[in-house]
Symmetry: C2
Subunit: 316 residues, 2 copies
């Protein structure tokens, strides 16, 4: 209960920082970023930074700007995700953004990346700027791999994990690692917190994939089955295909080739082939691994909160 309250106060710290302190030199872009921040989000990346700083023996609130930069890197990638291809409108995805918004989205995201690095290089010592830029390279690399793997029904689970490590887990790992580094803690604790971030990030992406098929649309804020519509290879689909039912595979193949089908019907099939339960098992395994990584921290408050965040991913 106390942990719950302290967690909420970390969240409020981040929110207050964004509301009161965040501003770039470009009013148009400040406005765009504020709009994206106001749309919500659990601020998990900055919370990892603050918890890792606490685990390293520092006062979390002293590391708020660094924590905020982690969220802003995420926001900048989301802004660039809004850039769409003409092809997407044919599939009914994001039909408005393609009209006039692409150039502005690219520039706003670029500006935000540059602004973050401009500040980080002025305010933080090595290796923080290097970790952040290497992480951004990983994220982009992972997204390129994901694009190349679209509709590739032969993508194995290991290929999926490689993509997720780069596109999602790398930023969670960097968030925790940088908080720990700035706290000035031992190399062993820094590595423990980074490892936690990696496993947590993988479980987080798997949960995201699962929710895309199982959440109700009001909560999700977008139509269920969006990943299928975008022909992504998500873990529920990969695990269902592994079962090797040729009829099911042919159905997915037809749909990914542009055929008409009911998304809801495909999701039922994925469930029937163990894709949803299999994903829940994988999430539980990576959440467990994340908690295990924290062993070197001993028995401290932050460890309990981090373990709680990992456990939360295993609940529907």
């Amino acid at each position: 209960m106390i942990e719950q309250q302290q967690e909420e106060s970390l969240y409020s710290l981040v929110e207050d920082f964004f509301r009161n302190e965040f501003s770039t030199d470009n009013p148009l872009i400040t406005e765009a970023v504020r709009r994206m921040l106001a749309a919500g989000g659990k601020r998990l990346r900055p919370r990892l930074t603050l918890l890792a700083a606490e685990a390293g023996g520092a006062q979390p609130q002293e590391h708020l700007p660094l924590a905020a930069y982690m969220e802003l890197i995420h926001v900048a990638t989301l802004i660039h995700d809004d850039v769409v291809d003409k092809a997407d409108t044919r599939r009914g995805v994001n039909a408005t953004a393609v009209d006039y918004g692409n150039r502005i989205s690219v520039l706003a995201g670029d500006y935000l990346f540059a602004w973050i690095f401009k500040n980080v290089t002025a305010q933080y010592p090595a290796p923080i700027p290097h970790i952040l830029s290497a992480t951004l390279a990983d994220i982009c690399d992972g997204e390129v791999l994901q694009l190349r793997a679209l509709a590739n029904l032969d993508l194995p689970l290991s290929g999926y994990i490689d993509i997720v490590l780069k596109k999602t887990a790398s930023l969670f790992a960097a968030s925790a690692e940088c908080g720990a580094i700035m706290a000035g803690t031992s190399a062993q604790r820094i590595a423990a917190l980074r490892d936690y971030g990696l496993s947590y990030g993988i479980a987080f992406q798997m949960k995201d994939d699962l929710l895309d098929m199982t959440a109700d649309e009001m909560k999700l804020g977008k139509p269920v089955g969006n990943d299928l519509r975008e022909r992504k290879m998500t873990i529920p689909l990969i695990l269902a295909l592994e079962r090797g039912d040729p009829e099911f595979r042919a159905r997915v193949e037809r749909f990914y080739d542009g055929g008409e089908d009911e998304i809801a019907g495909i999701i039922v099939e994925i469930g029937r082939h163990g894709g949803l339960d299999g994903t829940r098992e994988q999430i539980a395994q990576y959440a467990e691994r994340a908690k295990l990584s924290l062993t070197p921290l001993g028995s401290i408050r932050a460890r309990g909160v981090l373990a709680g965040l990992a456990d939360a991913l295993t609940r529907d």
Copy 2:
């Protein structure tokens, strides 16, 4: 003649570096960047870096990677320039890129930015990483301002200069400044070389605007009048509008509102209203200012080459 040869050897140094040493960790992106590099370019930004290093008393070839990063920042912005809006296809601009290439262009540019910063933060001391990220922020800021000024017939020359300082001159200034800093020369010489880069960059953009209306299409590699087609406010147009002929203004207004017109006819009118000659005068003034900036360098070889680059902008 000797200077000409040494200049060519600087150019070859850069080319050889790109051909033999350049490679990112992502083969797809390495390939894309190599294609863009192979399409040509005068490598002016890296040449400024190498000449500034020489002016600062260093061996230019020792600073080849830094010089290459300057060109690569430029290449990454070009990759992002390829991202188009659906609206553009209606105007006949770049109709293929909108089809499937937008997402890949965004990711390739992002990856290249991140890769550059990852290397720069690992290989160069403060303030180099900070200068590069601040410069990228300026470039994006300038491009946002340019987008907002599209078809704004009231944009004054001073507003144009503000945009050009950020979107174009900032990278030339940073290229010269960083070369001088790495050579370890005096603050006065560093400032002189940075100032040269700023004035050179403004003259360079003005020349680019002029060529868009006067060059032959084979040399230009794109149709003449492309800037007008994109409704940009370039300096020849701004100077022609300053003359205050209401009929000419109305004609441009109609065209920028989407009306049909002959681009060639509008360019003739711009010339008739002194827009082309006025631009030539402005180029000469900024080239002169660039050369004046170099006074603190005294009489050294690199100063002559830099002066020659500025003079070259004044020849048609």
